[in-house]
Symmetry: C2
Subunit: 709 residues, 2 copies
């Protein structure tokens, strides 16, 4: 959430392809690739799951080529650059009908899997955010990246990306000079090569000293952790220049990633577009707690747009300036982070990449049940562990390849100082491992900050099993003296101190004892000095029947656009017999359209049946489309394979005569036949995941027709 | 859509209550009212529809008091001011769990009613918009309101609202001085009074001359049509001062209502937050057309946030700075605006307020079938008429009172010059008649503008039934001369002219004939002068087999927040026996939660049954909540009446013994009993509107238990 710590994909920033052309004229729509270089990355593993008929389908007959996928995505209007006819803007994309439906279905599945299943409190807060809120959260000061400029052309670079791209390109040049055979390249090396190509940092075959290679590799391994000053030193040390011009670069300066604007006509009220939805939960904590009958644990959830003014957005859908997030803030007692449903998930195995493995410079995955991971203290607590599994199960449900997911723990230097633990769900695609969900235990940081800034108590009170005697520490003011000294400010000072916790009051006590005075930073932003005659700290034994605490927050934060893009890559393949016959194998649950209705021809005899089938499907809430164009049935199905429509129903003269229709399954292209009602019933079960295709085949006999399908 | 023409609620700007406190401290949450003045407006008519058991329910036993409703809305966290603990910002609101669920259900119903039922192409375009796009659409220059300032305090007023509030307050003072009895006040007069109170423009009992009263009334009737200069003249003429200070006011100046920001790090790329979603459809027109196999008619649809920097937002949810819109852009052949499904709706009666009635200074509604209205030319065409009915039916479906809806036609001076016709669906609430949906026939305006600006052809080509011989008009350039004169600009000039339609080419022809030269405003924004030796217009007879046209756009544009607020008012009432027992009578379709599960006590014996019931409901997709708090069953039901939960199921010892449970209906409080499975089946039918409560009562016998419910 915070700059430099847990914001989405700080870590995965190393993939650098400038995927979308910002200056593509409309008339010659080109695919999403910027340079026409196809990225040839063989899947790490073949898909281990086959939702459909495995024996008939070979999804890996052709190697994955990103350019081919991008061709399908733009041609079928899954996605396009925003304001394309105005030449577009980097980092802004529109979703066309299939992209929009796919995203809506993912969000719908998310809402059911998390909000409804877990009875979370859904909220909707504004994207326009008062600057003070983001000042308190730390974003105004720290939500920044480092940029540097070409001193002559003014071209702007993100400093860490630039250093990375230049060093990677030099390493690639070194490998070329050493004559390393292309054939033995690993997937990771291919990725690196693709990246350097896309960044257009020319890689020339120059051999480097072994020590230089080691140096570069060590820098690259830590590229996310350098300060601006350190990046500046690297630029000088390695003589890095502006790649296209060879000009010098300015020293890196901080650039805040929030879009700002002015609210209202006065010109004084500054606002930002939120860079995350989380703060909207935190400022509403007291109302949420009250809505939940003052009890924890509970979770709030929000799905909405966030905005980040990236310096130089690349990587297509993976790094954009406006994006949909889904965030959960789960509030728990800091003394009890167990989870009531942990036992339901404890045997689920996950691929983990713990921090100590990374510190040792390795990336070997550990396959482990979440029960063991929590038991051994690898994952901090049950609640965090529960969410890791729920996140994993959600991804499986929507069609992400389980073999291409891993949970990577943040290393100590990546994580904010207050965070207890943080795990990213990373999904592998042709861009490498990309953070798609961040799962952080953020402790009580945000609530404490907002409470202090606004003098608002944000605590949960629970009854103690039995009363305890405590040493109560309390501040008292000499009101007769406070008034004359501070006048109207006296109240805000008292309110501020009233919101202090015991630890803070102890600090005040020590300062008064030492210096006879203390400084109070009040909720109005001003600092007041109070002397011992104005404020005193007293202690007395009292019996407490309740315990007050600021809840801790466990936050799973989803980047929907990144999940969507990963899913598009994992779903895409081409038929063995023809690399041009692309298929998007979305699970029926999230496919934009579930059924394509294909009449044999435009004959009027088919029209009543088409209406009948469509209305029966609609009664089950199943989205269908009719294709009554003149194209052959095979061609119509092929077009819809590209859109990921899982089922097709053909209506022909036999349908008119016998009230039957065929049912075609997209991946296997196998066809079955049955009465219209039975086919609709089977489709309904398939769409609700109550039946597999194998089971459907038991209910519907194979179709062996004589028509061209 | 455009400033001053059809943007949402330009017209309804006359209601002025400052509904939300911008400076309410959190600890004492006050209702949404600003001043504690309750607005007592009796409903114009009692609800003509009773979805539930009419005989037992008296929904009008207590007069509507807005303050009471607002108390429920904040207390139950339907809504609250954004950043409330930071004292909030006028015009920004958050939705809590019930408000968010209600909105999600309205949007879901909208998607089914419009997008799925009509097979519209849903898209999602960015809120961040390149400034050039909004320059072309006219928003950069014309999307403004007039503001004026208190010369000493700098307080800022929206000029038309201020003139209106002051004159209304003087008229109210006049009525008081004339001793007009309160009892004979009409609903409209009460509204006016409420408004003036809320605006805090003191109304003192001063009698005015009859001629002055007539003058004021005439000004108020036209308040939406004055220019800034005219508003300035009114301020001088009527000696209008800053209401609270009595200071002079500055002359009105234009204030653009769009939030601006800078995209990227350069500081040069200006962007705005979109003030409507429509432009995102228009710039994507060619891709949409291609997706629809190059055929019209078709419609695109988008649901998303828009942003307007209102000068002084008041009226709670009705005038806000960030809001959800749902917009449809239906593209049709300008020569054929018939609609294939018009016959299905032609007999539907609507309450119309045509423009000629308004011009005559009246507001009598005409009840008429849409078939007649289109037939008589009152509504311009079938497609527009079809959408008016669809909009009306949607509102009925979600629970808007049909007796409090009307369609008001824009008067000639309200409508943009290019618009063919425009009707607003207005919903009546305690704020008066408020525009909630604008239905405009926007002709070919937007597509033509974007096409010209970007030199992009945005046309539909249809085959002609038989070829026709036409006088083709065409521009030709002397390329040998163009090059030396315009150099690299020659191409953009030619491209611009190539996108001209016949009418425009005729203008060029006439100018060349008259002056020997013409001016071309090219797509690069520059103007070029071309003399007759560079460009010539030729005509020749050719046979045409196809016809190209720029489609017209019919746009129903929904303000979801306004619909939500109207629905909250229409749904709210209090039980006859106790004005504090509030009920929100949402239809089951859109109620946030459908079923409250109420165990008699916390006894462990009930737990398996609760889980069983909840899982059975979930299998039908029915949202339920459990209330196992210690409160009495009656109290638990009362709390959920406020949340609008339509059904309640009690689980008691009889349930454990007989596997039965009771079913309580919210509005009537009547209770029935049946087996758990039967009750779940009945609830499922009720939620899907397949059964009424009367039918449910036939299936489940009345409950005459002995427990306190």
């Amino acid at each position: 959430m915070l700059a430099g710590s847990v914001r989405l994909c700080r870590r995965s920033s190393s993939a650098v392809c400038h995927i979308l052309p910002t200056r593509t004229p409309y008339r010659k729509p080109s695919p999403l690739s910027c340079s026409g270089h196809a990225s040839v990355v063989r899947p790490l593993q073949t898909r281990s799951r086959t939702t459909m008929a495995p024996s008939q389908v070979n999804k890996t007959a052709h190697p994955f080529e990103r350019a081919d996928l991008e061709g399908v995505l733009t041609r079928r209007f899954f996605i396009c650059p925003s304001f394309e006819i105005y030449n577009g803007v980097a980092g802004l994309f529109d979703l066309g009908p299939p992209g929009s439906a796919l995203q809506a279905n993912i969000i719908d599945a998310w809402r059911k899997h998390f909000i409804i299943e877990e009875e979370m409190l859904e909220i909707e807060t504004t994207a326009l955010t008062l600057s003070e809120v983001l000042k308190t959260s730390g974003h105004v000061d720290k939500f920044t990246d480092w940029k540097c400029d070409d001193v002559k052309t003014g071209q702007i670079f993100r400093a860490d990306h630039l250093v990375e791209a230049v060093l990677e390109s030099r390493l690639a040049g070194d490998r070329a000079a050493r004559g390393e055979a292309e054939k033995v390249k690993t997937a990771e090396e291919l990725e690196a090569e693709v990246k350097s190509k896309k960044k257009k940092v020319k890689s020339t075959a120059v051999k480097l000293d072994d020590s230089v290679v080691a140096d570069y590799e060590s820098v690259l391994a830590q590229i996310d952790n350098y300060t601006g000053e350190q990046l500046g030193e690297l630029i000088t040390k390695y003589n890095i220049k502006s790649p296209e011009t060879g000009n010098d670069l300015t020293k890196p300066v901080e650039f805040n990633l929030m879009f700002d604007t002015l609210i209202g006509p006065t010109g004084y009220m500054k606002g930002y577009l939120r860079p995350e939805t989380a703060q909207g939960h935190f400022v509403n904590f007291n109302r949420l707690l009250e809505f939940n009958n003052a009890k924890v644990p509970f979770a709030s959830a929000q799905i909405g747009k966030s905005f980040r003014n990236e310096i130089a957005p690349r990587q297509g859908l993976l790094r954009v300036r406006e994006f949909t997030m889904a965030e959960i803030e789960h509030f728990v007692d800091p003394h009890d982070k167990s989870h009531a449903r942990f036992s339901e998930v404890k045997d689920q195995k996950l691929s983990l990449l713990p921090k100590d493995v990374q510190s040792a410079g390795k990336s070997d995955l550990t396959e482990m049940t979440i029960g063991d991971a929590v038991g051994k203290g690898i994952v901090n607590n049950e609640t965090l562990g529960y969410f890791l599994v729920r996140v994993y199960l959600f991804m499986i449900k929507i069609g992400i390849d389980p073999a291409r997911m891993r949970f990577r723990q943040h290393m100590a230097n990546e994580m904010a100082h207050y965070a207890a633990d943080c795990w990213d769900l990373e999904i592998h695609s042709s861009y490498g491992w990309i953070e798609c969900v961040g799962c952080a235990d953020r402790s009580a940081y945000d609530l404490t900050k907002h409470a202090a800034r606004t003098s608002t108590k944000m605590v949960v009170r629970v009854p103690l099993p039995e009363p305890v005697e405590v040493d109560e520490i309390r501040a008292s003011f000499d009101r007769k003296k406070m008034g004359p000294v501070f006048k109207k400010d006296a109240k805000i000072i008292e309110d501020t101190v009233a919101a202090y916790d015991d630890a803070r009051l102890e600090c005040v006590e020590q300062e008064l004892a030492k210096d006879g005075k203390t400084k109070i930073e009040a909720a109005d932003g001003k600092t007041y000095e109070l002397t011992s005659d104005l404020i005193s700290i007293t202690r007395q034994k009292t019996k407490q029947f309740t315990r007050d605490f600021v809840p801790n927050v466990i936050e799973p934060s989803f980047g929907i656009g990144r999940i969507l893009y990963s899913l598009l890559e994992h779903s895409y393949w081409a038929r063995a017999e023809d690399s041009q016959r692309a298929v998007m194998s979305f699970p029926p649950l999230i496919a934009p359209v579930k059924v394509l209705i294909v009449p044999l021809s435009n004959n009027d005899a088919f029209k009543p049946l088409i209406r009948q089938v469509q209305s029966k499907l609609r009664a089950h809430g199943i989205a269908s489309r009719i294709d009554d164009s003149g194209a052959s049935i095979g061609k119509r199905y092929a077009r819809n394979d590209e859109l990921g429509t899982p089922f097709g129903c053909t209506i022909d003269f036999a349908s008119v005569k016998n009230n039957t229709m065929t049912l075609r399954e997209r991946d296997s292209t196998s066809q079955r036949i049955g009465s219209i009602d039975e086919v609709v019933a089977v489709v309904n079960d398939l769409c609700d995941a109550r039946a597999t295709w194998a089971q459907a085949c038991e209910r519907l006999p194979e179709f062996s027709g004589d028509q061209d399908v």
